[in-house]
Symmetry: C2
Subunit: 187 residues, 2 copies
């Protein structure tokens, strides 16, 4: 029995080590998507967050994880990427807290003062706020941001889908922070 206990201990320890390694390989960027309404966009973002190992995806209402359409698009990504619940009314408090924890608070939005995505160096600890599908980020949240960044858009039709914008920003963060010599398949 003592032998079995020992084996179980070892097993739990190994499991703990693997979980810690998985956690350690997460990047330190949180996508705050509470303003986004459309389920395909949220599910797509969950998948994209998982692919780039974002620290977390924050949504207004976690019950969307049980939505069939969400599950179809996210292809189980929500089982791997930590999903936080941050209702729209709690966004300010959440951002204040993250600011105190040393995170840079960024918004992805076209404003007069926005910095072009490729002209910006992402801090390691970053919260990226995404805007509503049509109206973007409300002004009271804009005021809380350290920086607004924008994707330079060259065309006549001037709007990328919010999932695509978020994915491009997350790629740019990843490109700046990843170590290319590190095999990406290893845990």
């Amino acid at each position: 029995m003592a032998r079995e206990d020992q084996l179980l201990d070892q097993l739990l320890h190994s499991r703990g080590v693997i979980v810690e390694k998985l956690k350690a390989r997460r990047q330190q960027i949180i996508l705050l998507a509470s303003l986004i309404d459309r389920i395909p966009n949220l599910a797509g973002l969950a998948r994209t967050c998982e692919v780039f190992r974002a620290a977390a995806l924050a949504v207004a209402d976690k019950s969307i994880l049980n939505d069939k359409q969400f599950q179809l698009i996210s292809v189980t990504a929500e089982k791997w990427v930590p999903v936080l619940e941050v209702p729209v009314g709690s966004m300010k408090a959440f951002l204040e807290k993250k600011k105190q924890e040393g995170f840079a608070i960024l918004g992805l939005e076209q404003t007069a003062n926005s910095v072009a995505l490729d002209q910006y160096n992402f801090p390691t600890k970053t919260v990226l706020v995404l805007g509503r599908e049509k109206e973007g980020i409300p002004v009271e949240i804009i005021h809380m941001l350290d920086t607004c960044i924008e994707i330079p858009q060259l065309g006549v039709v001037r709007s990328l889908n919010v999932h695509v914008s978020g994915a491009i920003a997350l790629w740019e963060y990843t490109r700046q922070h990843r170590q290319p010599w590190q095999p990406v398949t290893q845990v």
Copy 2:
């Protein structure tokens, strides 16, 4: 009457100059999306191609431009980005022709020999082949490619949506080729 003719001439000339300027501002990357089946992906790509002013989007069947779902998602992008028709059976001939015109033929696909997106310098004249939603790029097309590039995927769920992958690759091309001091709003 002669005066009116003169004015009309001037008007047509100015219009011609503007159209030429618009054309000149297109980047020299063509997205070959003939293998993609899902209309939301194709419509999203049209919008993304327009935002980054790709030279053209090639699809298997141009009649999708009349599809209501396509139009809803593309938000008139298809009126601005040149859309070419390249049926799946004509892809090889199209790629051969573009190769002769000096285009690099790239594929976006995870293979043993793929180059990570951020380790690759995009040639100015580029055709980027996107794969089918599930099966990717068929082997006979892979053989025609100059290079396969891939987006480094760090997560457990290892697949980005094809529209998102294409958008990230198009952003990376744009990032490498655009001149940041150039105001993006000017025509």
